[in-house]
Amino acid sequence: MLEVEGLGHVYRTASGEVEAVRQVDLTVAEGEIVTLVGPSGAGKTTLLRSLAGLLPYSRGEVRLGGDVVRSPHPDMALVFQDYTRSLMPWATVRQNVLLPIRKKVRSRAERDARVDAALAEVGLADAADRYPWQLSGGMQQRVALARGLAYRPKMLLFDEPFASVDAQTRADLEDLVLDVCAHLRMTALFVTHDIDEAAYLADRIVVVSHRPSTVRAVLDVDLPRPRDQVTTKSLPAFAELRSRIFPLLRAESAEATA
């Protein structure tokens, strides 16, 4: 579904050129959940913005279902890291979810049905007429996910979406993402810096290096589905996966600080 070949990105700043992404190749097959894990400051957000068509990349190519992605693609929906900033505080939950499809879906009834279905999918059917700032952080991120779902994309991109919620909420949201993707057979690319989260969600893990980003390793995950916060994370295979990722990231940050 998503193919990334030789992606590179160079920023031009006043003090010269900064290479944020050097060489990234990856593919995400249909129905697959791929997580992209890297240390903080690895240029993951730059990478994701390039994949989403928000940032023109300097080298390589991104293709979604065969189309070259140069600007935001209608089959791709993005869930932002900072929900307080990506949701419109002046619009209700319903309006936030509805707005992106207002011009794309002609029939009003179908639009409303889509919004209701998306909100029900994330368990927020009752909150439609409230404002985002009246909801907890976890609920706000559910709204952001519902907005992505109502867009009916073929693929969801997540940019460290749960970085600023507490541990319990985070676990709930992770399970929600797994449920929704399984239920809708959604393809997803999920960026995170949390090793557990990367391993728990993924069919495949792409480990990227400190900036300038390159792919350090691609690991297949053969943990059984459906997954469970307790049983999956206590499997020996899970521990083994963690112990393979951990050194890859740590060696990286040691190099970076040296």
């Binding site: 913005r49 989403a52 068509g53 928000l54 600007s71 935001p72 209608p74 791709m76 929906a77 993005l78 932002f80 900072d82 900033r85 990506s86 419109m88 505080p89 002046w90 619009a91 707005l99 992106p100 207002r102 011009k103 794309k104 404002y131 700032w133 009246q134 907890s136 907005r147 867009y151």
Partner: protein, 281 residues
């Protein structure tokens, strides 16, 4: 009295619902009786001084002012003067807000317009429109057009500058969001740029409202002879000091009311803004 600033509020908050209501009631009472007592004391002293002949002869006593204002509000002349001032104010203020907002949006969204406009704004902004009042009245007469030109010349700048600042303040994440979800140009303006800029624009609008009233009254006083300023101008020339001070007081009250009304409007329009939220948790 110092150091007790926060104490009542804190104890009120610590209590339950009923106590909080009582505490809030008490605070409201304090907000009412303290200024009322002070006002009574000041006006009382003024009245006594006037009765004793200790004030300048041109300064009417509070009782005279109250009598005059009490009679005036029953007369149609008073209300037609208020109406004339309000009409000029509305016209000039509306032009300032509309033009200021439109230009501000253009400059905020378009760098070229911004660079062309900025020096002009910086040049003309510090020059009060009262400076060219004599010229405008010579050329365009004392009609409403002159008033509108002068009001706009003074009141457009806060709206313009605040709008530009507001548009520039649009959150980059939100801008990314509208692109990622393929908002049309109009949707982007209506749902992202305009609401982001709204709190800034509101501040500019309230400053402009005050400036507009000042310019309207000034032109009425100096030139057109209509409205509340016109009444004052006549009273000044004929030495009717009760009329002069009474009308001045009415103009001040009008200023307060206009500002409060705009404040209420702002609160309603920006109910989602962090500063105005109710039931946020």
């Amino acid at each position: 009295m110092t150091g007790t600033t926060l104490a009542p509020a804190r104890s009120a908050r610590a209590g339950g619902g009923a106590a909080r209501r009582r505490g809030r009631g008490r605070a409201a009472l304090r907000a009412v009786w303290a200024p009322a007592l002070l006002g009574a004391a000041l006006f009382g002293a003024w009245q006594l001084a006037a009765a004793a002949g200790a004030t300048p002869g041109s300064l009417p006593s509070p009782a005279d002012l109250a009598t005059y204002l009490g009679e005036s509000v029953l007369k149609s002349e008073f209300w037609s003067a208020v109406g004339s001032t309000m009409l000029s104010w509305t016209a000039g203020f509306a032009v300032s807000v509309l033009v200021g907002c439109a230009l501000g949006m253009l400059a905020g969204l378009n760098g070229v317009v911004d660079r062309l406009l900025f020096p002009v704004v910086e040049f003309f902004r510090p020059i009060p429109s009262i400076v060219y009042l004599p010229l405008v009245i010579l050329v365009a007469g004392t009609g409403r057009l002159s008033v509108m030109v002068l009001v706009a010349g003074g009141a457009i700048w806060p709206v313009l500058l605040q709008t530009v600042a507001g548009v520039h303040d649009t959150d980059p994440v939100l801008r990314d969001m509208t692109r990622a979800y393929a908002f049309t140009r109009r949707e982007r303006m209506r749902w992202c740029v305009l609401p982001s800029a709204a709190p800034f624009i509101a501040t500019g609008v309230r400053i402009s409202a005050t400036i507009s009233l000042v310019v309207v009254v000034t032109t009425e006083l100096v030139g057109t002879g209509k409205g509340l300023g016109g009444v004052m101008s006549t009273a000044y020339q004929t030495g009717s000091y009760v009329v002069l001070f009474g009308t001045g007081l009415a103009a001040a009250v009008l200023g307060v009311l206009l500002d409060q009304a705009l404040g209420l409007l702002e609160k309603r329009a920006l109910h989602w803004h962090a500063a105005y939220r109710e039931g946020a948790r």
